[in-house]
């Protein structure tokens, strides 16, 4: 892959930096990032990432623009009041950099949709305003083994960290969950100085750029505490607690099994393949005569070899399994769930149903 002449002009100031250069710019172009929350932090993170040339950005926010947001959420104008934040944000990003691909989701990020939303991203950027959603983002980041770029604000103070980076400390290591304690109030309840999310969000954007391009030292196993009133920037080291991972897994598992498996009928197959061009199709019949489906290669792993060959598969890639009548594939499906495959499609009724 190479940059086009247009891109070389657009990213000239990045290309002049020996640390970024063409390779760094191409890495940004290939990056797929998920920004959860298009409030104060999201408004700061998003334009800098789009401007920097991040190739694919998903924005999730169920909230609508309110007049009280305009004091700090700089992507929005008075005429946007009442519109979905995620939708308006994506409109602005398109105007800023039409080279990028953007997607918006106007749903609340919950245990029910978390896995489906987060799949196929390289980094999750936590810009939400509820502690319990932050734990969920942490658990999902652990599930996909991708970093979570954390930013949080309180009146004049901010916190920044990169959790779960290369198996480093997680949000649960820094802040073990204690449900007996009160949840911290958010900006709506407390008030916030408008500049604060701008600064914290830009720290987050910079961490994303560092993660994607591989430059500098990522803020992993550390948390940065910022106090704007007193100009304090302090870094605190955090140790990884291996128990945190088990809590994350337990938390997701309650809902996971139903979420990660999609049962499809023969008539739905074409649509699934069209919407998932990167899907891995596995034929587990002992004798197989299909080499491809809609130009997607079919991998043949006879059912009795599946367990031994699982390590060759990418558990984060969407995987479709089928057999002759949809019976052996039921067993295979359970095996993939146990092995923590993240997105499984099961062809009900097998080849016989086509």
């Amino acid at each position: 892959m190479k940059l086009s002449t247009k891109e070389i002009q657009r990213y000239k100031r990045h290309l002049l930096l020996s640390e970024v250069g063409e390779l760094g710019q191409l890495a940004l172009k290939s990056a797929r990032v998920l920004v959860i929350g298009a409030g104060g932090l999201g408004n700061s993170v998003l334009p800098y990432l789009a401007g920097a040339g991040v190739g694919f950005i998903t924005v999730v926010d169920h909230d609508k623009v309110d007049v009280s947001n305009l004091q700090r959420q700089v992507l929005f104008s008075e005429s946007d009041i009442g519109k979905y934040k995620a939708e308006v944000a994506v409109e602005r990003l398109k105007a800023l950099n039409s080279e990028g691909s953007y997607k918006y989701i106007t749903e609340k990020f919950t245990l029910d949709n978390a896995i489906k939303i987060a799949i196929d991203h390289d980094v999750i950027i936590d810009c939400v305003d509820q502690i319990h959603t932050r734990y969920l983002i942490n658990d999902v980041a652990q599930h996909f083994e991708i970093p979570m770029v954390y930013g949080a604000i309180h009146k004049f103070e901010g916190q920044v960290s990169v959790f779960n980076y290369k198996d480093g400390a997680t949000y649960r290591c820094a802040f073990p969950e204690d449900k007996t304690k009160n949840a911290s109030p958010n900006c709506e309840e407390l008030g916030v100085i408008g500049v604060l999310p701008g600064i914290v969000g830009m720290y987050q954007a910079m961490e994303v750029i560092k993660i994607v391009t591989g430059i500098g030292e990522v803020l992993s196993n550390k948390i940065l505490l910022i106090d704007l009133l007193n100009n304090i920037h302090q870094i605190i080291a955090i140790q990884k607690n291996t128990n945190s991972k088990h809590i994350s897994q337990k938390n997701l598992k309650m809902n996971q099994q139903e979420q990660i498996v999609t049962h499809i009928s023969g008539s739905e197959l074409e649509n699934v393949l069209q919407t998932n061009p990167n899907i891995k199709i596995i034929d587990i019949r002992p004798e197989c005569d299909i080499e491809s489906m809609m130009n997607i290669e079919v991998v043949h792993i006879p059912v009795y070899q599946l367990q031994q060959q699982l390590h060759q598969l990418d558990k984060n890639q969407a995987t479709l399994i089928f057999c002759a009548h949809g019976i052996n594939s039921q067993w295979a499906k359970e095996l993939l769930i146990q092995e923590n495959f993240t997105t499984i499609y099961h062809l009900d009724g097998g080849i016989a149903a086509l």
Binding site: I153, F175, E177, P185, N186, I223, A237
Partner: protein
Amino acid sequence: MKLYLKYFGLIAELMKASEIDLEVSSGISVGELKSNLINGNQELERISFSVAVNQQMVTDDSVVCEENDEIALFPPFAGG
């Protein structure tokens, strides 16, 4: 002995200070220090927060503080 305490977020508001010097008995553990602070301000009890000794977070309450240690108390922030 003297400890140097730093409070962040809601803790600073409850304690009405962002940093203070505190005189404590020598050999005090992080857990004992936490109990002392909660005894002085009951509201602290209902807040979840993490503790760092000399910029290193500690999860073990039995860690013993030493003279002039810098102890930071920081809760997770919700806002975004």
